[in-house]
């Protein structure tokens, strides 16, 4: 069974969790920019958490569904409209919940009204060739498929028992969608996105004035940003730090190039970098960084290692709580 792409949207790519333990090959994680959000979408339709889905950016695609299945999309706030030939009334669909889609339906996603990216899961997950164990599209490394294009047909796996049962249960209800939904990962402070970070290796080489500039600003997002990194715009830092010999960098490293405008590295980062590193954003902040679109303003919050450890622990607990809550809710369907 296939899903047909009628319109590709701004940038829609096939993603799962990406690659782990490949940095020695210079292959960074890639995959869904917020893999927890993809996991949530998958859980909502009964799939294994790492099943292959789609990542939407800015404006979502229009997809045609040959057969009936369940879908759910998470992350930013983006609504969709469903139509079917023969049905006069288009139906508005909402994010963050499982929805039963009938055979022959076309779903058109719009622009994100808050946030920037969404992750779509469908019953069974997409069936795509894997490379080094992942179905993801790593655009920077040119590994995997490129962005989806018009008239592309994407195969879907047959569902496992859980997903099939869920689809059946949802289709039998009066309303095809649940009344409950999961919370969006876009922060309440939107368009301000606050990210916690440790001081980077070269933070102390910045003048005090520059340290303040770095931490006090609501940095704007440059249009040259992509899955490799968010390029920030704002008042430039003036300390001239010399370029360094290439060092291993990580997702969350904030580099300071000669321009004085920081870059926050993301999922498709290069494995090494020659720019000084002024901050290290915590890995827990991936979820909000993935929502850093053109209207966002990023504010860095400096934390200590202890605080960072606590943030990690809290985050792990809240993810476990979320998975448990979804499991209970789905059982009542």
């Amino acid at each position: 069974m296939t899903v047909i792409v009628r319109q590709p949207g701004m940038l829609t790519t096939i993603q799962d969790f990406g690659w782990r333990n490949r940095l020695h090959l210079s292959l960074s994680r890639g995959g869904a920019m917020d893999s927890d959000a993809l996991a949530t979408a998958n859980q909502l339709v009964g799939n294994p958490l790492d099943a292959c889905g789609l990542e939407f950016t800015g404006v979502g695609p229009t997809l045609f569904f040959e057969e009936s299945l369940c879908i759910a999309w998470t992350g930013g706030v983006m609504s969709a409209v469903m139509t079917r030939t023969g049905q006069s009334q288009p139906v508005v669909l909402s994010s963050h919940r499982p929805i039963a889609i009938p055979a022959g339906a076309t779903v058109r996603w719009g622009a994100a009204s808050a946030g920037f990216r969404c992750w779509l899961a469908v019953t069974g997950g997409f069936k795509v060739t894997t490379r080094l164990g992942s179905c993801s599209s790593h655009l920077a490394a040119a590994i995997g498929a490129g962005p989806v294009v018009r008239e592309q047909r994407i195969a879907v796996n047959p569902p496992n028992a859980t997903a099939a049962a869920l689809r059946a249960a949802l289709s039998e209800r009066e309303s095809d969608a649940t009344t409950w939904s999961v919370a969006t990962t876009v922060p309440h402070s939107w368009p301000i996105i606050e990210v916690a970070a440790l001081a980077g290796r070269h933070f102390n080489q910045l003048s005090e004035e520059d340290q303040r500039r770095l931490l006090d600003q609501g940095w704007a997002v440059s249009s040259s940003s992509n899955r490799q990194g968010v390029s920030l715009k704002g008042e430039r830092l003036t300390t001239t730090l010399p370029n360094i010999l290439s060092e291993p960098v990580r997702e969350g490293t904030v580099q300071l190039p000669p321009s004085g405008l920081p870059i926050v590295l993301l999922a498709e980062h290069q494995s090494t970098g020659g720019y000084p590193r002024v901050l290290e954003v915590l890995s827990t902040e991936r979820e909000v960084l993935a929502q850093a679109g053109p209207s966002a303003r990023i504010v860095f919050r400096l934390v200590s290692q202890d605080q960072a450890d606590q943030i990690q622990v809290r985050r792990r607990r809240s993810i476990v709580a979320l998975r448990d809550a979804i499991t209970s809710k789905l059982q009542t369907l």
Binding site: H24, R131, I143, L245, S246, P248, T272, D309
Partner: protein, 214 residues
């Protein structure tokens, strides 16, 4: 870990990298080498203060142990490269800067034995040290938005082959038809950290034949 600004630093980084890769201790999820630095990624369950301290101690020991081991020679990799003018858009510029003839540039590039000092930037890309000092040229003032995949670039003391059509600021003097990174291969990357690399001149028709096999 920063190995500091000494001439042996790169060798020590590579020795530690090899050691950790071979022994795969349980505090190590990933290890990435820089020019003078090395980073390890801890597994999820090791990310608290106590485990970090243990990992740091263990890493210190590993560095000591690896430095007392004899340097293992890396593999020797031979890369075919076509130096034909049609594949060497910056050869003219290199000749002008160095004062050498095209023939001399190609010979001196081909004659050297290079060493993969750093693997990074993108999959398949290796920074190869050992470029003849008479061939030292600065980067292009403006990088190309996209170099042809397989292009051989030189700058400063290094040369490298661009695995795909990425932006690039190095001086292009040839092109290699092989797939530098193939996810379907048992060893996806052709060049690993510490490998010795030699270049072998091929004709345009040989280039086309090999390119067709990608």
């Amino acid at each position: 870990m920063d190995f500091g600004d000494s001439p042996e630093s790169n060798a020590r980084v590579r020795a530690t990298f090899r050691f950790l890769h071979q022994h795969r201790p349980d505090y190590l999820s990933e290890v990435v080498a820089g020019v003078q630095t090395l980073a390890i990624v801890l597994p999820e369950t090791w990310r608290d203060a106590e485990h970090r301290a243990r990992a740091q101690d263990a890493l210190g020991l590993a560095i000591e142990q690896s430095s007392s081991m004899t340097e293992q020679p890396g593999r020797r990799v031979v890369l075919p490269v076509c130096y034909d003018a049609s594949m060497a858009p910056d050869l003219q510029r290199v000749c002008e800067i160095t004062g050498l003839s095209a023939k001399a540039v190609i010979e001196r590039h081909q004659d050297a034995l290079y060493e993969a000092e750093l693997v990074g930037f993108m999959p398949g890309f290796a920074y190869l040290g050992g470029l003849d000092a008479t061939l030292a040229v600065p980067r292009l003032p403006t990088p190309r938005p996209a170099v042809p995949a397989g292009s051989l670039g030189i700058t400063g003391t290094q040369c490298a082959v661009y695995p795909t059509a990425t932006p690039g600021g190095w001086n292009l003097i040839g092109r290699c038809p092989l797939l530098l990174f193939d996810p379907h291969r048992a060893q996806p990357a052709l060049i690993a950290l510490g490998d010795s690399v030699q270049f072998q001149s091929i004709s345009v028709s040989e280039f086309e034949r090999l390119w067709g096999q990608r």
